[in-house]
Structure formats: C-alpha cells, structure tokens
C-alpha cells in the first residue's frame, strides 16, 4: 500500500480528519479518566495540610514536602507509625517471597516433569480447592494460629503466604512444560540424579520464571489487607496496607503519601514486566 500513493477526494480527506479528531478526542478523554485519580492522589500527598476538609475541591491549596517527612518522623503518638509498618511489610513480603518461591518452583517442576501415582489427584484437589471463596477458611486460620501461639506475630503471615503459594503452581508448571525433555534425558544418560538435574539444569534454565514467581509472591503480601487485618492486633505489628486501610479522612494527605510511597515500586515493576504479564494473561486465555 505504501509504495503507491492513492489520489483522495476531498470527501475522503474530510472523513479522515473527522476520524482523526474523534480518535484523539477519545484517547484524551480515556487518558484523563485513568490519569486523573492517580494525579489527584500524587498531588494530595504533597499537600501542606493533612485533612481532606481543607482541600476545598480536588487539589490542595498549598504544596509542601511536609507530609512525606512527617510520614517517617512523626507517628502522631503511636497512631500511625509508618516506618515500622513499612519495615514489617518488607519483612513479611521478603520472607514469604523466599519460602513461597522455593515451594512453588518445586511443586511446578515436579508436577510438570514427573508422572506418579496421585498426580491427577493432586491436580484435581487444587482445582477444587481453588473454587472455594478465597478467605472462606479465615475463621479456622485464626483458630489454628491461636493454637500455634502465632496471633499478632509476623511469622503467622509468612507461614500463610508461603504455605498456600504452591496452590498457584500452574503457571510454573506451564513454563517447565515448555523445556524440551531431551535436555533432561541427556542428563539422565550421563548419570545425573533427579536432584542434580533440578539444581544444575532446571534452575539455571528457569531464571525468568524464578524472577516472575519471586515478584508475584512478593507483590501479594505487599498489598494484602485481609489476613494482616485478621491476625495482627497491635498497631506496631501492622503492615502498611492495614495501616492505610485504617487512616481517617482527617489524615488524607498522610494516606496519599503512604500510598504513593508503596505504589511507586510496584508500578515501576509492572511497567518493566508488562510483557510477561500479558503472556501470563493470554496463557490463561488459552487454557481457561
């Protein structure tokens, strides 16, 4: 098409112009719809006064960096110790990430490479379990954690996040399914044991999958509210998500600043990983 220029009538040109006009108009409107709330939150975090009542409309009247500074230095008599919350979140997410990744990768690898008795049973069991409403067992989890003496302890969350992570092994299994069997067979012939194959061949081959798994197992505790809300009673033990959930309107600027602070790393991650995520989404589309 590009090598020969077609002659266009004035009518066609007019049609093109209106088409362009409406296309870009829609694009502008849509971008505004998506950008505006984010912009609102970001600008609010730079407001000088904290309460939403002083905003007089969407945007603050005066700007300063004060909220970000007091977010970390002033905890309002122990009501909003953001720094502690942040460290708690980092600890929980980091630990769950390490243990969860190990468990998920192991499960995904075994379910992909080995054919053993009970494999189908495990597959069906996870399928059925996945259909129960996610936090259906929360009451039970609370009792179990009470029995284990772990209520109000960050380790309870780590056990939960890491311990239930293997339920989502399907993505990892899908990845291992794509590694050709010949590689493993060759290693078997050379006399490698299954453990050696796993550590020396599989792991180096699956770096992208490990990174992806680590990120997803990190992101979940990073933004979960329900479980920490259930299990952590003492304000000093809260995670950021619970803290933000409990911020009142009078501390709106603090909420905005706290949100921006933990959203930025995640947003950057998403933009770097958008390709992987799209692949994951469309993979789901094929498998259902």
């Amino acid at each position: 098409m590009s090598n020969k220029r077609r002659h266009r009538s004035p009518k066609q040109i007019a049609g093109r112009i209106t088409d362009n006009f409406f296309t870009y108009l829609f694009l502008l409107i849509i971008s505004a719809v998506f950008l505006f709330p984010c912009l609102w939150l970001i600008l609010s975090s730079f407001s000088k006064s904290g309460s939403i009542y002083d905003f007089r409309g969407f945007f603050p009247t005066e700007y300063s960096l004060q909220t970000f500074i007091s977010l970390f230095t002033d905890d309002v008599n122990g009501l909003y110790p953001y720094k502690t919350w942040f460290l708690n979140t980092l600890f929980v997410a980091g630990m769950s990430c390490i243990f969860g990744t190990v468990l998920v990768i192991l499960t995904g690898y075994v379910m992909s490479r080995f054919r053993f008795k009970g494999r189908n049973g495990v597959k069906k069991l996870t399928l059925v379990l996945g259909m129960f409403p996610g936090f259906m067992g929360m009451t039970a989890i609370y009792i179990i954690m009470t029995q284990l003496g772990l209520v109000d302890n960050l380790w309870s969350l780590i056990f939960l996040y890491a311990g239930t992570a293997p339920m989502g092994y399907l993505v990892q299994k899908g990845y291992f399914d794509t590694i050709p069997n010949t590689i493993f067979d060759a290693a078997r012939i050379d006399g490698a044991t299954n453990l050696q194959i796993f550590t020396k061949i599989t792991l180096p081959l699956s770096k992208p999958m490990i990174v992806y798994t680590a990120l997803t197992t990190f992101a979940w505790p990073w933004s979960d509210v329900l479980l920490p809300k259930l299990l952590l009673k003492d304000r000093m033990n809260w995670t950021v998500a619970v803290g933000l959930f409990n911020m009142p309107e009078t501390h709106f600027a603090r909420f905005a600043a706290g949100s921006v602070f933990i959203a930025v790393p995640i947003v950057i991650l998403y933009f770097c990983l958008v390709k992987h995520i799209v692949n994951g989404l469309t993979a789901g589309a094929v498998k259902g």
Binding site: I30, F116, F132, M136, F245, K287
Partner: protein, 467 residues
Amino acid sequence: MEKGDRKLKGFYKRAAAKLKAVPRGVAAAFERLFAFLKWAPLKVWLSIFVMGLGQLCYGQIIKGLIYLVSLGGMLWFFITKGFDYIIGFFTLGTVEENTWLGIKGDNSMNMLILGIFAFFILGFFIALWITNIKDAAYTARRVEKGEKPHSFKQTIQTATDSKFHVTALVLPLVSVCIFSVIPIVFMILIAFTNLGGDVIHPVLADWSFSAWQKIIGLSKVGSTFVKILRWNVLWAVTSTLLNFVCGLGLALLLNKRNVRFSKFWRAFPILAYAIPGFISMLGFKFMFSQSGPINFLLDQAGMQKIFFLTSDASAKWWARGIGLFVNAWISTPSIMLMTTGILSNINTDLYEAAALDGANHFQQFRKITLPFVVFATTPVLISQFVGNFNNFGIFFFMRSGVYSLYDNYFLASDTDLLINWLYNLSVSNNYYSIGAAISLIIFIITSAVSLLVYVNSAAYKQEDTYQ
C-alpha cells in the same frame, strides 16, 4: 445448544462408566492384597505389626529407628490427646463451663478443628505405615533375589533421585494441608453445626441443619439472602459486560492505524492496572466520601450533596453505580491487554479481502473482529464472570462496616455481594454456621459455572473432532 447438550451427556456418560468400574477395581485391589499377604515373609509381617521392626531385622538400623521413633511419637500423641480430639469431633463438647465451680468448659469450635487435625494426623500415620510395609516388602524382594538390603546412604540417594518427587512434594503438601485444606474442611463442616450467633464459647454447639433452615426459610436471613443473590447476579453480568466492552473498545481504539505513539497512550491504562487495587479503591472511597472533593464541588455549585456511600436508601443506586465504575476502572486495563494480544492474531488478509468486497469498517468489525474476539475470549469471559461474582474488594474497601438501615437487611448493605456478606457474617460478627453455608452456596455456583466451561472446552475438543 444441542451440541452443548450432547457434550454434557458425554460428560455424564463418562462419569457413569467410571462409577461402574469402581466395584471391579475394588475386587482387583483385594485380590492383590491377599496375594501379597500370602507371600509376605516373617520380617515383612513384623513391619506390618510394628512399624520399623522389619527394617531393624534386615539391619537397616537408622531407617528402622526413624520409623520406630515416629511410631512412638504417634502413639504418644493419640494416647495423650488424639483420641480425645476425635471423640470431641463427634460430641463437640460435653462439659459446660461453670465459673462457680471453676470448671473450664469445652470450646466447641476448638474441638471441631482439633478433631479435624487429629483425623489428618491419623491419615498421615496410615500413609506412613503403608510406606513402611512397602519398604519392607521391597527389601524382602531384594533379599529373595540374593541382593543386599539398601544401606542408609542408598536410602538417602533414592530420596534425592528416583523418589525425588515424593521428597519435593512433602513440604508443599503439608503446608497446603494445614493452611488451606484444614480451614476449608472446617468451614464445610461448620455449615452443619449450629455454631455462631448466640452459640459461641461457653455455650456448647451441636451438629444441626439450622443454618440451612434459616437461609431457605422466611426469616430475616432468608430474605436478605434472596436480595443479595439477585443483586450479585445482576452485578456479575453487568460488570463483566461493561469491563469487556470497555476493554475491547480501548484495545480497538489503540489498534487503529491512525493512532500515533500508541505505547504512550497505552501507558495510562497500564498505570491504573499497576497500582495496587486496595490503594485505588480506598482512594475512590475518599473521592466520593461525604466531605470529599466531589461533594465539595457539588456544594459549591449550589447543588445538594449526595451521600454516595452511606447507609440510607438514597445511596443504593449511587453506590452500586460507583462500584461498577471503580471496578471498570480497575479491570478494564487487563481486558485491554488481553484483547490486544488476541487482536494481533487476526489474519489481516481477511480485512483486505473484505475491503475488496466493499465492506465498510463497521461491517468488518461486526463480521470479522467481533466473532473472533468473542470466540477467543469466551473462557476468559467466564472466568471474569466468576471473578466478578466473587469480587470482594470493591465493596469491602469502599463501604466496609456499612449496614443498610432499611428493607430489613441482616448484617449487610444493599451493595454487598454474597462474598461480602459471608465476610460480615463469619469474620466480623461470628455467625459462623450461616457464613459457612453461604460459602458452600458460592462454591456450588462457582463450580457449576466452571464445570460448564470445562465441559465446553479443552478436554472435550478432542471428542468434537470425531463427531
């Protein structure tokens, strides 16, 4: 439709065939068991009666000791606690609390969960016992052939090599059992007790169908259930369609040939997608709150303030509409990303052929793009439907703690979905058995939809090729 019916029939036929095969399978298993017992030498019999004894006799000291120690541990557990736990599971407590006499009463809920726990330990114990017998039999066969029993070093080697899958799966299985399976089993069972409401510790609970009677009956609970279910279905259908239409529209718009810098434009929806959901939802809550910016501007413009998210009847449709909007804001980008990928798979020759035949843009869209996209995204559409049906976040974050004060809602607001109600009942208000029954209903709906999808998709495609 007829085709779908046939597929369903095929599914039932298979299930029936499997059921018919069960008695034969059981008979075969028993035959094998008797043959095994006939063959088993003395040392294997030792292992059948005392875990680890056979291994010790074969000279596998460490392995035998490990089995023996775990046998001791198990016996100790069951004698000191386990039997009581299992009895407690059936009685759900017999001793009532009496503070005058200083009697610490039974706690029915703890007894239920400890009972389940004891059953799991029992299952694990039996599994361990079977592996012990199998292991002894394996060694016996080796000895029959004149080979030496495995040394401990060899055992470790098997664990990392030919039994690698078992070793690797033990930890994930145990953790999933404790943190996922036991809680779910507990909730299923609790739906058949009268726990919750007035019946919490120190009051003793019992097995009963009271929760189901309340939901089906004409009580406040029953009428709330009907209202919530109706809204829940309406919500799932509208929000799925809305998100799908918006996402597809966005993808088509960004795919248009005259759009320059489409990567730049695409960044805005992705930004919305990347922000942790709870932050966007809480942000919108502030935006629409009573003294939030929108109400302030309405007030300034001389209009009446709208109490978008409060508990009275006027807020009903405002809150529902806002919920739909916020949900679309959050989920449209992911649909857009997905459909963009699908759109790039359409064969462009089709469009050129259509253009040659004189089809205009709209006709091309209706006859080529739409059927293709709908076809390719049907599974996703269904999983989106299930996801929206159980969309807990939106109304939890935007209206948590709001209970509607009109129309006889029982611990629910007019926007609550079943899953929000379940949370209100069982986590916030201790109505355990009703909450558990609701979660079973949610499970039945979700799995019915998923089963329908499953029957209509991958597994049955093969069958189609022969028909």
